[in-house]
């Protein structure tokens, strides 16, 4: 029987939805499930880990684990994987997951696949599907050994309604700190901003917004909808938006329920970062803009004219 170890994604004391999504998929393929949670002061999260669908909970709870450090985090995952006898080890689509997964694979001598969108088992044979070449093609990858470490692409798996697990907590001993790569400080992103990776709605601006006034105009709509607010690379290169807000293959890959693109033409790198969204709305002056090829709804128009009307109409519908 397959044994899936899911690395819990915890942010500011909250278990993120990817944890349930990955555990749901594990159960759907008939696997035994465990979760590993790493952090400081995370005891209170155990009931949440159980209800997310895990049947065993490995917990590494130590003050030394408060700030992310890839070495010690990898040690915790390897420890849990060995104790559980995991043959599939799944990370959610996060920067920490992308940093830790290859380390774990190297240490366990397992295979490694990133950005997977599906996994199938044919007996012991593991196969995954994943996009490659900036999302232009898909690959079907055959794993030749029995252990696979994978990073699952945002939005790839869906949570099963009513999923639950059983409590069986196993405490992990704290790993040794990485004395050769010492985390000195975490400079938080602009506080109060909604995380692009978590947001139900993501709104992005591109070159069509022209300058700060244009950005501020679209930002008001994002505030109305409590949406994550991002941008195309052009606005980052232009110095208008911080690089952490760039949506695209070279920035953040998002898969919200609704993605709204304002004044974004739709370069291939940008499309690769958002085309997993459930519904896409695009507003652009150029009727030939490539963004319209992926948008479910397109408005050909000037965002400076459209955004205020959009805000009013949405307000009407929501009251």
């Amino acid at each position: 029987m397959a044994k899936v170890l899911v690395i819990a994604e915890i942010k500011q004391g909250v278990i993120k939805s990817s944890t349930t999504e990955l555990l749901s998929k594990a159960k759907a393929i008939g696997a035994e499930t465990a979760v590993v949670a790493i952090g400081s002061n995370i005891e209170s999260l155990i009931p949440g880990l159980v209800s997310a669908g895990s049947d065993t909970q490995y917990v590494a709870d130590d003050p030394g684990l408060e700030l992310f450090s890839a070495g010690p985090y990898a040690s915790c995952v390897v420890d849990a994987a060995k104790q559980f006898g995991a043959n599939l080890i799944w990370f959610g689509f996060s920067e920490s997951g992308k940093a830790v997964a290859p380390r774990v694979a190297a240490q366990l001598d397992a295979a490694c696949a990133t950005e997977i969108t599906d996994v199938t088992l044919h007996g012991d044979q593991i196969e995954v599907t994943r996009p490659a070449i900036t999302n232009k093609v898909m690959q079907r990858v055959k794993v030749n050994i029995e252990e696979l470490v994978a990073v699952v692409r945002a939005g790839a798996f869906e949570a099963t309604e009513g999923i639950t697990g059983t409590e069986n907590v196993i405490k992990l001993s704290p790993p040794a700190p990485d004395l050769k790569a010492v985390i000195k400080e975490l400079v938080s992103d602009a506080s109060g901003d909604i995380d692009l990776a978590d947001a139900d709605i993501v709104i992005s601006v591109g070159r069509g917004a022209k300058d700060q006034a244009g950005i501020d105009l679209v930002k008001e709509l994002a505030n109305d909808l409590k949406a994550g607010f991002g941008s195309s690379r052009a606005m980052v290169d232009g110095g208008f938006m911080p690089h952490g807000k760039q949506v695209g293959q070279t920035g953040k890959i998002v898969a919200p329920n609704l993605y709204m693109a304002f004044g974004i033409s739709g370069a291939i790198q940008h499309l690769a970062g958002m085309n997993g969204s459930k519904v896409i709305l695009a507003v652009n002056k150029d009727p030939e803009a490539p963004i319209f090829n992926v948008a479910d709804y397109g408005i050909v128009g000037d965002l400076f004219e459209v955004v205020p009307i959009l805000r009013e109409e949405i307000k009407k519908i929501r009251t």
């Binding site: 940093a99 000195k184 070279t250």
Partner: protein, 260 residues
């Protein structure tokens, strides 16, 4: 400080890519330096200019990489190694990392700089696995590097909760993001000079290893087939009076797509 930087020749993603019978249609493809690796080269050259580092690049596979390597010379890289061996045709990240380990061990380097991923595979694994094989500290997704002294660098990494500031003891491995810098365009004079420079081309035997030792015969995974991307279809596009079409789209978002 001795820096080793890695460059990979990859397919140009700006062009259309066709898939037929489970394989990529080679006809019409063009090859370029991996975007992230160009940032790695720029990072190495800046460290040379600002801190007196010696810079070497290594490229694995790709056939004739002369133009790409000369371009990196013109940007300011001093030495170039190209590992080319038919056994590497289906190399995965682990094989690349093993080959890089051999290159590293021959050179007594202080810092390895790789792009954070290659735009053909989008794996993002090789640099990190290399660090594991070498037992060196590693930070991935680096957006800034500062040299503190002969033994230490300070890097900024774009993480989940913000920017992580990490002090690394050398030797170390870093993988860089495109936001770390804007790669320079090589000057014409540099391109002319680069033509005279030697490229150290070698196969696995010349590197002092073998296909078996780097794992060519026992890949942990392999690509069974390429498939067409499930591309989205464009939906409804509205043109005309802004107030009318916007109201219409909001109605559809609420009642058809049910997102509000």
């Amino acid at each position: 400080m001795k820096i080793l930087t890695t460059v990979k020749k990859v397919v140009d993603v700006e062009l259309t890519i066709h898939v037929k019978d489970g394989a990529i249609v080679e006809d019409g493809l063009q090859y370029v330096i991996n975007a992230w690796d160009e940032n790695a080269v720029e990072t190495a050259v800046q460290l040379k200019e600002n801190s007196g580092a010696e810079t070497t690049l290594v490229s694995i596979g790709g056939g004739d990489n002369t133009d790409m390597i000369r371009r990196c010379y013109a940007m300011g890289i001093e030495n170039g190694i190209h590992i080319e061996d038919p056994a590497l045709a289906a190399a995965d990240s682990f094989v690349y990392a093993k080959v890089l380990q051999k290159v590293y061990e021959k050179g007594d380097y202080d810092l390895v700089i790789t792009g954070k991923q290659a735009q053909d595979t989008d794996n993002g694994q090789t640099g990190i696995i290399l660090a594991e094989y070498l037992g060196l500290p590693c930070v991935s997704n680096v957006i800034a590097i500062e040299v503190l002294d002969d033994q230490h660098i300070k890097v900024s990494r774009s993480g989940d909760a913000g920017t992580e500031i990490v002090e690394l003891e050398l030797p170390a491995v870093v993988t860089v993001d495109v936001s770390i810098n804007e790669p320079r365009l090589p000057a014409m004079r540099g391109i002319m000079m680069a033509k005279k420079k030697k490229i150290d081309v070698m196969d696995l035997a010349a590197l002092g290893t073998s296909p078996d030792e780097v794992g060519c015969a026992t890949p942990k995974s392999e690509i069974a087939e390429f498939l067409k991307s499930d591309t989205r279809q464009g939906g409804q596009k509205f043109e005309g009076n802004a107030a009318e079409i916007t109201a219409q789209v909001v109605d559809l978002l609420a009642n058809e797509a049910k997102v509000f």
